[in-house]
Symmetry: C2
Subunit: 215 residues, 2 copies
DNA sequence: TTCAATCAGTACGCCAGCGTATGCTGCAAG
DNA sequence: CTTGCAGCATACGCTGGCGTACTGATTGAA
């Protein structure tokens, strides 16, 4: 993001972080050794000291990303016993963290690459699983929770996409806050159980609000 | 899509279509002259007869894509006077046409390129505008229609993304049909709209609101 | 038949990015 | 101070894709 800051003695992780930066702003293809070295103010000689080849760098970056994503999610989770608030927090983060969003989109776009695809799939699956779990904690049965969580997750991702691809059209400022509220009250079937915070995903007295669908 | 079919006398449009195929399956970077020529069973000599350079091919492909997207949308529109059914049809198409979805995602991923970005933005804006218009026809005021249409569009896009990035997790078969219905009845505030125009987009079923964000 | 336009093939130079080999420098242990 | 090694620089060869110049081949009209 900045100029060739002539840092001394880079570490492998710094290379990986730089690779993630490059991805976030210009996609996986932008993770190329010589340009990256230039941006870091060194030459290839340094790179091939820390990594066997470009692929190794990509792998390291992916690993870093996956770790970040999972630990970040966990960190966001730990302190929040109320499932409703948990989901709200996840929404918030998804619609706030700009770099994380672009990173996800960049990696997802490159998921033809089997290495990338595998990581993207794991991260997606983990997010979805956690969302579903939160919806169940809200009082939905497993099936409905799966539908709603997929719905909500798709909307997360879609917002990032629209925000990037049509920034002019995407709500901002006050309107965004309204938009956000609309999504919240639409995507979280409240009025359900959330009154008393539930610690375990056991379904209490649950009335099926949006009744399970059937043809 | 198939093997080097040794066709005779390709046209520029065939090159452009092939370019779109390449994009859909492997991104913009895959639109490279020599590989494309191989896939088409010819050599570069042919290509540079039809196009000045690679950029011209990309531009032609983009033009083709934009035309397809707009005419397709219009074609889908013209015969359907009922706004509800119009939106349903758009939903259906968004969740059905696999190639179109991948194409959009590929182009969106490459929207750093200013030429690509401009087209993506125009197409997105047009889709959003049409969706908003349909929501207004449902009886929502302009503002609410804008919020709901953005919401719905983001969900469209997000579905494509999730379907591509986590195909295992995405509903399919019967479950998909349920999922689809859930989205429809959640994202289209019918019931309230069709008869009497409504100015406030309150969800009719929803009773109480958790106090949402600190806003 | 001729010939000109249209389309494709061949051969070449160029460049960016990858990877390798090897040389240079500073710093810390002996 | 010298030795060793971590960290980076330099120089080189290789490949793939771009673009150019030129040479065929086919076809339809004069």
């Amino acid at each position: 993001m900045s100029e060739p800051v002539a840092k001394q003695n880079l570490s492998a992780e710094q290379w990986a972080e730089a690779a993630l930066d490059a991805m976030a702003s210009s996609g996986l293809e932008a993770v190329s050794v010589e340009p990256l070295a230039r941006r870091l103010g060194v030459t290839k000689g340094s790179f091939y000291w820390h990594f066997a080849n470009r692929d190794a760098l990509v792998r390291a970056a992916l690993e870093l990303w996956e770790r970040h994503e999972t630990t970040d999610a966990i960190a966001l989770v730990r302190d929040e016993p109320d499932p409703y608030e948990r989901i709200v927090k996840l929404f918030k983060r998804a619609n706030t963290s700009h770099r994380a969003g672009r990173l996800y989109l960049a990696l997802a776009a490159a998921s033809d690459d089997p290495a990338v695809g595998a990581v993207v799939q794991r991260v997606s699956a983990q997010r979805l699983a956690y969302l579903q779990q939160s919806y169940q904690a809200l009082g939905l049965n497993e099936h409905d929770a799966r539908l709603w969580s997929t719905f909500a997750y798709a909307t997360f991702i879609g917002n990032q996409q629209v925000h990037r691809d049509a920034p002019e059209q995407f709500p901002s400022g006050t309107e965004f806050r309204e938009y956000f509220k609309l999504m919240l009250r639409t995507l979280i079937p409240h009025g359900l159980a959330a009154v008393a915070p539930i610690q375990n995903a056991e379904h209490p007295h649950v009335v099926s609000l949006h009744k399970t669908v059937e043809s």
